[in-house]
């Protein structure tokens, strides 16, 4: 557990909390940890979960394979981000998605009911944590809305441009890297890979952008 504390300290979730306090919080909340190998499924659609999870290290994809085998990547989780927050509600039904580790990953488990119920005075940073979790869920919410705004674009070209320009804005640079390969990007935007690849090359030929592997550069209109 101790080895994740320094990682956690840098996350939004524990911002403003010292390492010692993080450790005592983890104890106070009786957090558990589990590690996953690359490619391993942390959870599968249909399982029931109640804990709130925090990714301490690695990288996860929240994804869904439908009846016909199409894969959709709903979200990518990076260290310090939470997931499973939609299932902390009592009687919220089974997990709708798969959670798979795309790298060696470590996940912390929190009993959310306990976080919300235990009197804040029990551990001095409790109030702070509640606030931070709140903010983190809000951020996640915003990210979901943002993804919806990409997907609501009607054409593959527009989907690409809205995602890439948002990413450029987020990383504050016209040159940036994305966390997906082509197939993953296509799954994320819910389009066909080859059609997307085609469109990317058209955009490049039209001088709107350039790319090398997953490094992109956008040019002014």
């Amino acid at each position: 557990m101790k080895k994740y504390v320094s990682l956690l300290k840098r996350t939004k979730l524990f911002s403003g909390v010292g390492e010692d306090d993080i450790l005592s919080m983890l104890n106070c909340l009786s957090a558990a940890v589990r590690e996953y190998h690359k490619g391993e499924y942390a959870f599968r659609q249909g399982e029931y979960i109640r804990d709130l999870m925090i990714l301490a290290a690695g990288r996860l994809h929240i994804q869904k394979e439908d009846y016909w085998g199409n894969l959709n990547i709903l979200n990518e989780i990076r260290p310090g981000e939470i997931f499973g927050e939609a299932y902390i509600v009592p009687n919220s039904g089974p997990l709708m998605n798969d959670v798979v580790a795309v790298e060696e990953s470590a996940v912390l488990f929190f009993d959310m009911e306990r976080i919300l119920t235990v009197c804040p005075s029990a551990c001095p940073f409790h109030t702070r944590l509640v606030k931070n979790i709140f903010y983190t869920i809000s951020d996640k919410n915003k990210a979901l809305v943002q993804k919806i705004s990409y997907m609501s674009q009607r054409s593959t070209r527009e989907k690409l441009l809205s995602y890439l320009s948002d990413e450029a804005k987020r990383q504050n640079s016209s040159s940036f890297s994305i966390p997906f390969n082509r197939q993953q990007l296509a799954d994320f935007l819910s389009v066909d890979r080859s059609a997307m690849s085609n469109e990317l090359c058209k955009l490049r030929d039209e001088g709107m952008l350039n790319f090398h592997k997953n490094e992109f550069t956008l040019y002014e209109g």
Copy 2:
């Protein structure tokens, strides 16, 4: 303010809280209320908000009109639901969407910072409220993920079927009504209205469903 208390009592947000306590909570949290006429914009893209809003009465659409005039309905808000939860994070930037009243509506404003900071003992149901808000945001989150799963379907037909079958499941009946007219449903699913209308009629002719206005019935495969 008082007139909304009985409405609020029936919402998830205030489940388990009596009317008197709701009233004292509203006072304790110094909630403000504002009413909006049908068609009126509660907020516009670009504005800055910090409060958490609860819809006490009426119906709102969270929507976005893009550069080329395409309208996208991101979400429908019904009484007892919250919105603006993505903007309670400090420095979270301007509102990305418009919020428009599709009926006569009343909105309550809460200072979230205050809810999270004030000691729970200040008002006996504070802890309960925090927990309920948490659950509500989680539910909202789940709804967003659900919407993404509709939109990630590749064809208009699949988008329709996934939305309608989910709605049937949610309303626990193969006959149910949806809160959208055709154009709104198309905007919600991000497809072309006429193509969608066409597809609906094909599905009806194939005996998979039936509809009259916004009342739908699904049949077994």
